[in-house]
Amino acid sequence: MQEGLTLVALGMGTVFIFLVVLIVCTTLMSKFVMSYEAKFKKPEQPIPVAGQSKIPDAVLTAVISAAIHQHRSAKAKKGK
């Protein structure tokens, strides 16, 4: 039991110390990055998380050309 309590203290102590150190380092890192980016770049838009558009180019092209085609034929018909 004695050993058990030691273990709880040791374990939770380590977990807390590690995460507190991580909080400190992370905070410092963020501060540094933010001040660096404020100084050297124009205030950056937070880049959206790797959110490349999921529409393949070929499809976009197809959609757009379909659209243009519609537009033209609609116009043409109207123009008649």
Partner: protein, 418 residues
């Protein structure tokens, strides 16, 4: 005629033990829970199916060649193997004796079962859980955590359940190593639990993995009553301030900072957190998208299938149908409960001490069980105040819980590992 009898005597019905029949039922139950009830199906379908496969009588899918030869071999084969092993069990025998025993089994036409093979290639080496952890890293967004790093404390507090359960397990006559592997169920993180169990108590792996994934699936039922017990309605209604935007540079640097801290402070957590950070860096760096995509899809899917089957191979009747399994299942849920409570209490404390308001409901997400626990925080929050969206705020402690339990795993591996 003799041949017909051989077939009949070799059939499953003629050889099934009560334990195997029960375990077939357990496998079916896991499949039912996974498919009809939606309990963590990505793991419980392979684990449940693996459980059935491992308990097919005579087939020996989850047994080594030597083990099959000892169970189903002729008297001469059994005698020869026992002689080669020198009277002790296979795992106590010397490497040379093991090699001789294998040779006899192979000559008698026994081969390692396919699930045993997956287990020994992927689990005893630690490769499967570590690769899964890499994939999880590649799917994790640390943005909410970076916007509010003090929520890391919630991920620390929620690990309390691990250590309390460990003591409980020791009190219930488990050895230190076994108790540590059982405690980690409270970490609410599948690959971490499997990795630790494989290292410290492989004979309990089946029960521990089933407990971990079942309780993770049950988070929406386990957590809310505990969350409500420890919070008042006013606390649950607390609105939190909008999270600041986080730059890509911060997201790239975070896994590196975390990795360096692990390297300097707790090297025993390096396998788990190292692979995790690697996956995350691949994702955030933005320069290796094709590697990151494959890690998040084909690779993690393939490994999940084989990990599940391997874990299922540890659900053999002889290992699983023990009173110990019931104890493990009970201890596991206690660990979950304590972790949830400590997360909530820590959040209450932080709300008291901190300048900015913190809704205590996000504390429970610190157990990890990503992303289920964060969704539960959000749902209970919405019940108290339909305008209160806690999801993003709960994602911080939620991923912090993954780090927290990996750190706890490092401590346990250090202490009990060697």
């Amino acid at each position: 005629m003799e041949n017909v009898l051989n077939l009949v005597y070799g059939s499953g019905i003629a050889n099934i033990s009560l334990g195997q029949a029960l375990m077939l039922a357990v496998g079916l139950l896991l499949l039912f829970l996974a498919i009809k009830k939606g309990f963590e199906p990505l793991l419980l379908v392979p684990i449940g199916f693996g459980a059935i496969l491992s308990n097919i009588p005579v087939a020996g899918l989850a047994e080594s060649a030597v083990s099959q030869a000892l169970h189903y071999g002729s008297d001469e084969v059994i005698a020869a193997i026992n002689q080669a092993l020198g009277g002790v069990s296979y795992y106590e025998a010397s490497a040379t004796a093991q090699m001789a025993a294998k040779e006899i089994a192979h000559h008698a036409n026994y081969a390692d079962g396919i699930l045993y093979l997956f287990y020994s290639v992927g689990l005893t080496t630690g490769a499967f859980p570590l690769i899964i952890f890499m994939g999880v890293g590649a799917m994790t967004d640390f943005g909410p955590l970076l916007a509010n790093p003090k929520t890391l404390l919630l991920g620390a507090a929620a690990q309390f359940g691990i250590f309390v359960t460990l003591i409980g397990a020791i009190a219930l006559q488990f050895s230190g190593q076994e108790a540590a592997a059982i405690g980690i169920i409270g970490g609410a993180d599948g690959p971490t639990a499997i990795y630790v169990a494989t290292k410290l108590a492989p004979h309990l792996l089946g029960a521990i993995a089933v407990a971990a994934y079942s309780y993770m699936a049950l988070v929406p039922m386990i957590q809310p009553p505990i969350m409500k017990l420890f919070t008042s309605k006013e606390e649950r209604e607390i609105k939190m301030t909008q999270l600041r935007p986080v730059s890509q540079t911060e997201k790239i640097l975070f896994p590196i900072v975390l990795l360096l801290l692990v390297a300097l402070l707790l090297p025993d957590a390096a396998p788990l957190l190292g692979m995790f950070c690697f996956g995350n860096l691949m994702k955030e760096s933005g320069v290796v998208d094709r590697l990151s995509d494959t890690t998040q899809n084909a690779l993690i899917n393939v490994v999940t299938i084989f990990l599940g089957l391997s874990v299922g191979s540890k659900l053999q009747a002889s290992q699983f149908l023990q009173f110990d399994t019931l104890k493990i299942l009970s201890l596991g849920i206690v660990a979950f409960g304590i972790g949830t409570a400590c997360g909530v209490l820590m959040a209450k404390l932080m709300n008291k001490l901190s300048g900015t308001p913190i809704n205590p409901l996000i504390g429970s997400a610190g157990v990890s069980a990503v992303p289920m626990a964060a969704r539960v925080s959000n749902k209970v929050g919405l019940e108290a105040n339909p305008q209160n969206f806690l999801l993003m705020h709960a994602m911080g402690p939620n991923v912090a819980g993954v780090i927290g339990s990996a750190v706890a795993a490092g401590v346990l591996l250090k202490y009990f590992g060697s």
